[in-house]
Symmetry: C2
Subunit: 330 residues, 2 copies
């Protein structure tokens, strides 16, 4: 059995910089026509100058591959002039609550103190992308943050807000509650729960932020993805760390899936008789919600087994060494 | 400031075997007058012959230290003759639900199928020690198992049942619900929550079974310990694994605290103005509940800082390298 996908888009990727960028950008370009590039470098991508520098770095790493990097700025107290200058270069601005995840120390501490920026973004039609976690107990952080999503969606009704890498049934239900909320979801949050991280032996390669949640959360996410909920997009949150930052006393958060996510998703959608919805989930929803037109690219997958590599350079992918039933053939 | 403790008892320890036994048994004997030795070796300690062999191994490793190892058998379908033969050598029989933790594959799959063994243990006055987790979602396993505790406590009202290493407010509340239930609790479950394991960077050295739970669970455990709830005993569940089984893709469950738990507890009880209850929590409750009389041993602690070693041989302890305010002086 074979399927074709037209211009898959990964609406949430970490490309990092330097040697890691050189490693992972081409791996995303293998199967994707484009993707949304996260700005949490050290220091963050929070000026047009730095954005253009980073775009140049990415273009260099892609070495001509037909992959469109949709750039983002790291949220801060931008002036209107800065927003106007940035708009042609970005797909949106990414907001991190301070300290919530990798390299987010310079994030926002008080949401309402930034209302003037949200208002300008709404006025100028710049989407807001949000890492939605409070500083509460790890299993409650996204659920608690739903109050912030409600506040933002209500206060700025024309601001397009993406709830990034949602992990809970609570966040799924918000999709239908507010017209201006949409979301990305990762392949791994459709497949694992906290049980896979710490329920048997502890697996650092499945440790990510937000942490995988309860079975009923995964089920809500999965059902929304399988029916290609019109406001839900694939966003891998593929987040490479070298092995020595994962198998150690202070393991960094991030699951690396960039080069394996389409076979993983084809298998998942196949097992649930939902392959007919995969195109919408991996591309069409994102094109419609963001109004983007990626490079033309046809990716063909077939139901023939592949074994996930043990590593890509120093990076261990999700489910390294496991054989899965689907593979990309071209 | 100085306190003295009389014959501290660690009512739940893993001594392992061979080189690990030689390493950790003397570390427990440094500060404790005795402890309950868990039987989950490979193969398990599930016959009197193997029990006597293991006792000999422990005595050899202790090399004359004044430490009483209270032995346990691994629960299985024992005959009455076996129970009668074992009774003089054991403090109780440890039940593991199959597969729930390290080396528990040969544990029990159906509790009620073992009712005849529980009835004989009740008749002969042999305590039942239980690893109380179902095979459900990792955060729910102990709460779900409370139904099994209720069943056992009600069906066998004279069977003395110890809920080992409790981690939830639900289990604490059972202590007051059934006369024949008592419990052990670890120092680490009085101090950490799931946030310390996966809320920031992931820490394999705080990964254990049962997993640390929610803040409200820790608070219920802490309040019961600080007032030396008469049915609650210190049991460290100190569980050594070599470094290469902790900082790896399949990290083993277990926190090593044997040689540092008294300073940790002195600090914790001191900070909560509860030092007057420490003796009951670390010894008197266990002596009364089990009717044991350990070797005389006076341990003196003072409020002077100690730095937790980076490792004991190949084993990394909890909070390695951290300086804590109390230390053992003799």
């Amino acid at each position: 059995m074979t399927i074709t996908l037209s211009s898959p888009l990964d609406m949430h990727i970490h490309f990092r910089q330097d040697a890691m960028l050189d490693l992972v950008a081409p791996l995303s370009a293998l199967h994707f026509a484009g993707g949304v590039i996260m700005p949490n470098l050290i220091p963050p991508v929070n000026s047009v100058d730095r954005l253009l520098w980073y775009r140049g770095e990415i273009d260099r790493a892609l070495a001509g591959a037909a992959f469109e990097p949709y750039m983002t700025l790291f949220f801060r107290d931008y002036s209107e002039e800065e927003l106007i200058a940035a708009k042609p270069h970005i797909i949106g601005i990414k907001l991190y609550p301070a300290g919530a995840t990798t390299n987010s120390d310079s994030g926002v501490r008080e949401i309402t103190a930034m209302n003037h920026v949200f208002a300008m973004m709404e006025h100028h039609g710049i989407p807001l992308l949000v890492h939605g976690e409070t500083h509460g107990f790890v299993m409650d952080r996204e659920r608690e943050f739903c109050e912030v999503y409600r506040y933002l969606a209500t206060t700025f009704p024309r601001l397009q807000i993406t709830m990034e890498h949602i992990t809970t049934a609570d966040a799924v239900s918000l999709l239908d509650e507010f017209e201006n909320l949409r979301a990305t979801v990762t392949p791994h949050h459709l497949m694992i729960t906290l049980d896979d991280v710490v329920g048997g032996l502890m697996n650092p390669h499945l440790f990510c932020k937000p942490i995988a949640k309860r079975p009923e959360d995964r089920e809500a996410l999965l059902q929304a993805a399988l029916r290609a909920h019109p406001k839900l997009m694939l966003g891998s949150d593929s987040a490479p760390h070298p092995l020595d930052k994962k198998e150690c006393p202070g393991c960094a958060a991030g699951v690396f899936t960039a080069p394996i996510q389409l076979p993983l998703l084809a298998d998942l959608f196949d097992r649930h008789d939902s392959l007919h919805n995969l195109q919408a989930f991996v591309s069409d929803n994102a094109r419609r919600l963001y109004g983007v037109q990626p490079p033309e690219r046809i990716v063909t997958l077939e139901r023939s087994p592949m074994t996930i590599p043990d590593s890509y350079g120093p990076v261990v992918p999700m489910w390294a060494g496991r054989t899965i039933p689907w593979s990309v053939v071209s």
